[in-house]
C-alpha cells in the first residue's frame, strides 16, 4: 500500500485513497473500511473503524486506548492516599464522582464513616460536578452536530459551576476533595447564596437550551429514531447512566445502592422509554433539573447546621493544635501525616457510584499493607463503548456523530 497522496485525476484510485484524518480501503465489492479518528471534534482520542456499503455502516469496531494511563497498575505501586489524585484524572471535570467510590471502599475496609456534614459536602460537590459534566457533554454534542451555539452556551454556563467548585475546593477541576474519613474543606462564607443564584440561573438557561437546541427541528431530524437502544439490549450490553435510563430502565446507583446522604434527599430518577439519541438529550436535561433540586436541599441543610468537624475522629484526633486552629478560622482541614503512612486492613470491598456518564465501580483488595494489592476500575464510558460495536451498524455514516455525541462518550474515562 502506498503512503503517497495521489492527486492527479486519472491516478486517484479508491483502493488506497488517503485523506487527512481518514484512511479508507476497499475490502470487497462495494465494501470499504474507513478509519475515523483518533483526531475528531469530540473530547479525547478514540478511533472507530467502520465498514461501509454505500453510506450504510455494516460493521463498527471501536478502537480505544489512546489515552490509556495504566491507572490500575500505577495504583498498586503508590500509597493509598495517592490513588485519589490519580483516579480523578479519569474524568477531571467529574472528579468528585469518580474518586468517591474509591474513598468509600477504603473507608469500608477501615470500618469508618465520614461525619454527616462531610457527607453533605461530598454530595454538594458531586452534584456540581455532575451538572458541569453534563454541560461539557452538551457542548461536545453541539460540536458534533455542527451547532455552534450549543457549543458556546453550555461551555460558558459550565464556568458558573467550575467557579463554584473552585471556591469550595481551591481547584477548578482536579479537586481531590473527598479524602478518607471526610473532605478537605468546609463551605466558605456566602457560598450557599451564590449556589442558589447559580441554580436560578441554570433553570432559566435550560429553558433557553430547549428553545434553541432540543426543540430545534434540525436537531430533532438528526436525532429522532437514531441510535435506538432497546431496553433488553441495553441491559444485555450493560449500558449505563443516562443512556440506560433513556432506554426505559430505572436504575441509578443513587437509588439502588444509596451512598452518602442520597437516601435522605428528595429527588426523582427520570426515565424515558424511546431509547433513541433524542431521548438521551432529554434525559440529560431532566437529570440536570434533578441535580439542581438536590443542590437546593443541600444548601438548606448547610445553612441550618453549624460548622462541625469534617474529618473522621480517627484522622482528626492526630491533628496538631495548629491544624485545629486553622480549621476553626478558615474551614480548611489540613491533612495530617497519618495519611501518608496509613495501612488498610486486609480484605475486599466493592463500591460504586453514579457519575455523570453512568456507573463507576471499584473493586479494592488490600493485603494489610500501605499500598493496595489490587484495584479494578470499570468506568461508565468503558461500559458504554459497547454501543459502537452493537448499535452503530445499520446506521448511515452521518448518524455516527449523533450517536457518539448522544452517548456522551469520554475517552480518558473509558481508557483509565
Amino acid at each position: 500500500m502506498s503512503g503517497i497522496i495521489r492527486t492527479q485525476g486519472a491516478q486517484v484510485g479508491f483502493n488506497d485513497l488517503k485523506l487527512p484524518g481518514m484512511w479508507s480501503r476497499k475490502i470487497g465489492k462495494d465494501l470499504y473500511e474507513i478509519f475515523i479518528g483518533p483526531q475528531h471534534p469530540g473530547s479525547g482520542h478514540m478511533r472507530i473503524v467502520i465498514r461501509i456499503d454505500g453510506d450504510v455502516i455494516v460493521e463498527a469496531d471501536p478502537d480505544m486506548g489512546y489515552v490509556h494511563r495504566t491507572m490500575e497498575k500505577l495504583s498498586e505501586v503508590r500509597t493509598w492516599i495517592k490513588g485519589i489524585p490519580l483516579f480523578e484524572r479519569m474524568a477531571i471535570h467529574d472528579a468528585c464522582n469518580v474518586t468517591l467510590p474509591y474513598v468509600r471502599a477504603v473507608e469500608k475496609l477501615m470500618d469508618i464513616e465520614a461525619p454527616e456534614r462531610a457527607k453533605y459536602l461530598r454530595v454538594l460537590l458531586c452534584e456540581i460536578n455532575r451538572i458541569a459534566a453534563f454541560l461539557y457533554g452538551f457542548g461536545i454534542f453541539g460540536v458534533f452536530l455542527g451547532h455552534s451555539t450549543m457549543y458556546m452556551w453550555p461551555f460558558g454556563d459550565r464556568e458558573v459551576w467550575v467557579e463554584l467548585a473552585e471556591w469550595l475546593t481551591g481547584a477548578r477541576l482536579t479537586h481531590s476533595y473527598p479524602v478518607f474519613g471526610g473532605v478537605r474543606r468546609d463551605v466558605p462564607a456566602g457560598f450557599t447564596d451564590a449556589l442558589r443564584k447559580a441554580i436560578r440561573y441554570m433553570r432559566k438557561r435550560l429553558e433557553d437550551y430547549r428553545k434553541i437546541f432540543v426543540d430545534n427541528p434540525v436537531i430533532r431530524a438528526r436525532l429522532e429514531d437514531v441510535g435506538v437502544i432497546p431496553k433488553n439490549l441495553a441491559i444485555e450490553l450493560g449500558i449505563t447512566g443516562p443512556n440506560l435510563r433513556a432506554s426505559g430502565v430505572k436504575y441509578d446507583v443513587r437509588l439502588n445502592h444509596p451512598y452518602e446522604v442520597y437516601d435522605q434527599l428528595d429527588f426523582e430518577i427520570p426515565v424515558f422509554q424511546e431509547g433513541d439519541a433524542y431521548a438521551r438529550v432529554w434525559q440529560r436535561v431532566e437529570e440536570i433539573k434533578q441535580s439542581l433540586n438536590i443542590l437546593e436541599q443541600v444548601a438548606d441543610w448547610l445553612d441550618k447546621h453549624p460548622r462541625t468537624p469534617i474529618l473522621h475522629d480517627k484522622f482528626w484526633k492526630t491533628a496538631p493544635p495548629l491544624y485545629k486552629k486553622i480549621f476553626e478560622e478558615t474551614g480548611r482541614a489540613k491533612l495530617g501525616a497519618v495519611y501518608a503512612i496509613m495501612k488498610v486492613p486486609a480484605g475486599k470491598a466493592y463500591e460504586r457510584a453514579e457519575t455523570a456518564r453512568g456507573e463507576i465501580s471499584y473493586y479494592v483488595e488490600s493485603n494489610g499493607g500501605n499500598k493496595p494489592y489490587r484495584i479494578r476500575i470499570h468506568s461508565a464510558s468503558a461500559r458504554n463503548a459497547l454501543v459502537y460495536k452493537y448499535i452503530v451498524p445499520g446506521h448511515r455514516v452521518m448518524d455516527l456523530p449523533a450517536i457518539y455525541g448522544s452517548i456522551d462518550y469520554f475517552p480518558p474515562e473509558a481508557d483509565r
Binding site: G65, N256, R352, Y363, E365
Partner: protein, 162 residues
C-alpha cells in the same frame, strides 16, 4: 432482602457448584466455584436475575501461583438484587492461563475479557474476537498487570524505611 437471605437463595440455586460463599462488607458476595462449572453457574445466575457483568476482575496471586478470575455480576432489572454485587470467582494456574469465555451468556463481558487477555495474558477459549482493546500489541506482550511486571519509579521514603 438481607445479604444472608441472598446467600441462602444462591446456595439453593447453585447447589454443589458453590464451594464457598463469603459476604464482604454487607453488600459484596463472593461465590467460589470450579473452572469447569463456570458456564452452568453463569447461566443459572442470569436466569436468577443477575443480568449483566458489572466488571471482570483478575487478581494475580504470584506467590501462590494462580490467577483469580472474578465475574462481578449485577442486576439492572431487579430492584432487590441490584443492591448487591455477586462475584463468581475461580482460580486458574498461572503457568497455564486458559479458561472458557462467558461471551455467549453475558455479552457485557465482551470487552472486559479482551482487557483481561491483554493485561494478564489470559486466553478465553471461544471468544469470537480476542484482541487487545486498550493496549497496542507490543505492550500487551508484556502483560503489564501481572505482579512480575515491575513499574520503574523513584523509591518512596516510606518504602525505604521498611
Amino acid at each position: 432482602m438481607g445479604p444472608e437471605e441472598l446467600v441462602e437463595r444462591i446456595k439453593s440455586l447453585l447447589g454443589d457448584f458453590a464451594k464457598d460463599i463469603k459476604i464482604w462488607k454487607n453488600d459484596y458476595i463472593e461465590v467460589e466455584v470450579d473452572k469447569e462449572n463456570i458456564e452452568e453457574v453463569a447461566k443459572r445466575m442470569k436466569e436468577f436475575g443477575f443480568d449483566h457483568v458489572k466488571d471482570l476482575t483478575v487478581v494475580d496471586y504470584m506467590k501462590e501461583g494462580f490467577f483469580r478470575i472474578i465475574y462481578n455480576l449485577g442486576s439492572y432489572d431487579n430492584f432487590e438484587l441490584s443492591y448487591y454485587i455477586v462475584g463468581i470467582a475461580y482460580n486458574i494456574p498461572r503457568d497455564k492461563p486458559v479458561t472458557k469465555t462467558l461471551y455467549y451468556i453475558y455479552t457485557s463481558a465482551d470487552f472486559q475479557e479482551r482487557e483481561a487477555y491483554e493485561a494478564f495474558g489470559i486466553t478465553f477459549e471461544g471468544h469470537p474476537d480476542l484482541r487487545p482493546v486498550l493496549l497496542s500489541p507490543p505492550v500487551a506482550e508484556l502483560k503489564p498487570l501481572r505482579k512480575d511486571f515491575v513499574v520503574k519509579e523513584d523509591p518512596e521514603i516510606i518504602t525505604k524505611k521498611k
